[in-house]
């Protein structure tokens, strides 16, 4: 990389070409710095561009959103209230929040003990149990959808979001996997100290382990929340026929089609679906990134 001349040649020459070589190297490094950052800025524009485009289009007038203008001439903020009047977005928003909150809470309640047992208890069949978790994680939901639908239909729960929430009460494979990976990094000595003090295993979990695994719990909780928030397939299967129980994702997918509106309203609706994710991400990005890293690095 560096352009030092061989030692013998260097010794033979005076100091000045040596200095020239060093300044050449410095100039080269500066150029590389500029090139790297130019590429990064270009990529950043490509990644952020679509979101900015959605924002700008969402405040255009009907007429302007038909044109090829990129910048709104008149900022029509009322589009956001119009969206809620055009379609039952308020109901869909509430359904989505209920689904996401209930699914996340249920998942945490069930998955933390399972992950703890898989990471910390020794028992026959632990390997098999872990393989089952991986299998469930990798299994496409489409494989099981027909019998699941028939089962929920027999329980008269199709047409509601409950078939999407109730399974979370029984552990979510991805969350269990991620929590287990994190739990393995906690030194056993901490837990033993508590055990020596006479703590029951449940107390060890709630008093010692849980505070230590907060970052993982936050990451897993956020993932579960946004998985539910973003889910399209589940709500489509179970609530497709009953628009009163739709979620935002489902409502947004058919918004442009069923309400025959312009792009500006559609983009306002799109931003309503995106906004919570973007806002929460900026507050909790460390937890997100750590969580993602945890999935991959061990792989």
């Amino acid at each position: 990389m560096t352009s030092y001349a061989p030692a013998s040649a260097r010794a033979a020459r005076s100091a000045s070409p040596h200095r020239a070589a060093r300044s050449r190297a410095r100039r080269r490094r500066a150029l590389v710095w500029v090139a790297d950052h130019a590429v990064a800025v270009g990529l950043a524009c490509a990644f952020v561009g679509p979101i900015v485009f959605v924002m700008l289009t969402s405040v255009m007038t009907d007429q302007q959103s038909l044109s090829s203008d990129l910048w709104p001439r008149h900022w029509q903020w009322s589009n956001y209230t119009t969206v809620f009047r055009t379609a039952p977005f308020g109901t869909w928003l509430i359904n989505t929040v209920v689904y996401a909150v209930a699914a996340t809470g249920a998942m945490l309640l069930s998955s933390i003990p399972i992950a703890y047992a898989l990471a910390r208890f020794r028992f026959r069949g632990r390997n098999a149990a872990f393989l089952a978790v991986i299998t469930m994680m990798m299994l496409p939901p489409q494989v099981l959808v027909i019998p699941m639908y028939l089962m929920w239909a027999r329980l008269h729960l199709t047409g509601t979001i409950w078939p999407l929430v109730i399974p979370s009460l029984f552990g979510d494979a991805f969350s269990v996997f991620l929590l287990r990976q994190f739990l393995l990094t906690i030194p056993e000595d901490y837990l033993n100290a508590a055990r020596v003090d006479g703590c029951s295993e449940l107390r060890v979990l709630t008093r010692v382990v849980l505070p230590m695994m907060r970052p993982a719990v936050v990451a897993v909780g956020l993932f579960a929340f946004f998985n539910a928030w973003n889910d399209y397939y589940g709500p489509l299967i179970y609530t497709g026929e009953t628009p009163a129980h739709w979620t935002l994702a489902l409502g947004l997918a058919s918004f442009k089609t069923s309400h025959a509106v312009q792009w500006n309203l559609t983009m306002a609706a799109t931003l309503i679906a995106m906004a919570p994710v973007i806002i929460v991400f900026f507050f909790a990005q460390k937890a997100f990134i750590e969580g993602v890293t945890l999935t991959g690095v061990k792989g």
């Binding site: 990798m138 496409p140 494989v143 959808v145 295993e201 061990k298």
Partner: protein, 330 residues
Amino acid sequence: MSTLTATGTRSAGAPDAAPAPALRARHRRNRLRVLLFLAPGLVGFAVFLVYPLVMTVWLSFTNSNMISPAQFVGLRNYRFMLDSDPQIWQAVRNTGWLVVIMVPAQVLFALGVAMVTARLKAGAGLFRTLFYLPALAPPVAATVAFVCMFNPSSGPVNQLLGLVGIHGPLWFDSPSWSKPALTLLALWGSGTVMVIFLAALLDVPAEQYEAAELDGANPWQRFRYVTLPAISPVVLFATVTGVIAGLQYFTQAMVAAQVANGNIQAAPGYPNGSTMTFPEELYTSGFNQFHAGYACALAVVLFLVSMAFTLVLLRRASGFNPQETQETPL
């Protein structure tokens, strides 16, 4: 990990001098505790995995239509799939296209972006945040936004292409450009893989690069002989999980067709069946045409293919290997 068991009462290193009955009682207590912690998972495993999986296989040999009782019809659904389903091969080709072109494109793009980010001296954290952000956007919202951006009449993409003298294609309205458009959407949302790659790249010891440099390795050789071996488990992980996600590809294809076409009824696969994926075919068979038996036959095929890829992951990726944390079972 320490070699201590989690049986609780034993202190570190103490010899196990408890008499046999007490030991047995402790074992029983231990087993009960394991059962208690795992109970929700065991119920979930039985009700939400084993039961529906068995039912899927059984229904695939029946003429179930979701309403009247199912009758055994042998291999008829599988024969129909291979011989007479007019749409299945197109769906297989489309999903195959996504797995062979979209998934590798996504992995390579994410690797490229991660390598650029790893080289940044200033603002690396900010750039990482911006690159990751779109991965969180709801797939439906991202798809609607892309259909709007790529729409041929007023969308900004073809306008920008026009500025440099390129007559843009019809994207989501063209049978030959709809899948490339979906691929661009996938690249936009590849931040998750990018973050995983970035963490792996930053884990490569700097001394190895320095040593390679002293040996006179050029940038390509340093990538080939230092970077790639170090990150290859992560690349494998990203590729296999990407393939499994590609096999499930549904939402974006469905929504893009719906929004671009403007008519929900005519939408699946629009334009001209070019976005009809295998899971969409399964969904349509089961929930629009109520051929539940046939949909289950498709589900069995999907199951076998994705399990084959999961096996690759299990055999090759160390983090998935349970032995890593395991000593002798109790």
